[in-house]
């Protein structure tokens, strides 16, 4: 996995909390920085795709690792 600047563990949280926490964390980050998110909500896979599409932040990576979902989002 590529380098990242901040990490957010949203394990155990259900919709819409992973997205809300990610948005909040991104707000405190600089443009171009990368956020690594870990989630257990299976719905978050499509949700982070949709989040990236609508906010302009880039979803660099989305994968499943040992039953958890991991995402890399680069702040626009």
């Amino acid at each position: 996995m590529a380098d990242f600047d901040q990490e957010l563990d949203a394990s155990g949280l259900n919709c819409p909390l992973p997205i809300l926490r990610a948005k909040k964390t991104l707000t405190g980050m600089e443009s171009g920085q990368v956020l690594h998110i870990i989630a257990t909500d299976p719905g978050s896979v499509k949700d982070f795709e949709a989040f990236a599409n609508q906010t302009g932040n880039e979803l660099m990576e989305s994968k499943e690792v040992g039953g958890k979902f991991e995402f890399l989002i680069k702040k626009a």
């Binding site: 155990g12 949280l13 259900n14 919709c15 819409p16 997205i19 990610a22 609508q54 906010t55």
Partner: protein, 160 residues
Amino acid sequence: MSDEKKLAIIATKGSLDWAYPPFILASTAAALGYETEIFFTFYGLQLLKKDLALEVTPLGNPGMPMPMGMDKWFPVLGLALPGMQGMMTSMMKKKMASKGVADLAELRELCQEAEVKLIACQMTVDLFELNTAEFIDGIEYAGAARFFEFAGESDICLYI
């Protein structure tokens, strides 16, 4: 006029289960960059109380999944027994907490942090003689015309 997308919601229901959709959608929309307003009217005003004593009822709701297969063998009238609603509410809350579903008050705070505008229907406040001291801070009191001012320019408008 901003070029932000806009979401307008009317929240009319005051039960624990129906309290979720307006706050989930509003907070998510705000996170996606929507300018969002929720207009609370009739029973929806319960969602603005500081003390969210909301309950869920299985009565008149055949779609509600019941624990332990109760819907299969429990007569509908039994659901009207005293204490049944409280029991269902506490089971629902436990279930929500165990599944990582957001606490309602937390979700509402997230909406306020994200500058979702919460508007209470003044007419209903008067009708039910609600005590506005019991409501959270930062809400606006207005009528239908105020709703249309925003809803008329909205991209999405929902009645919940």
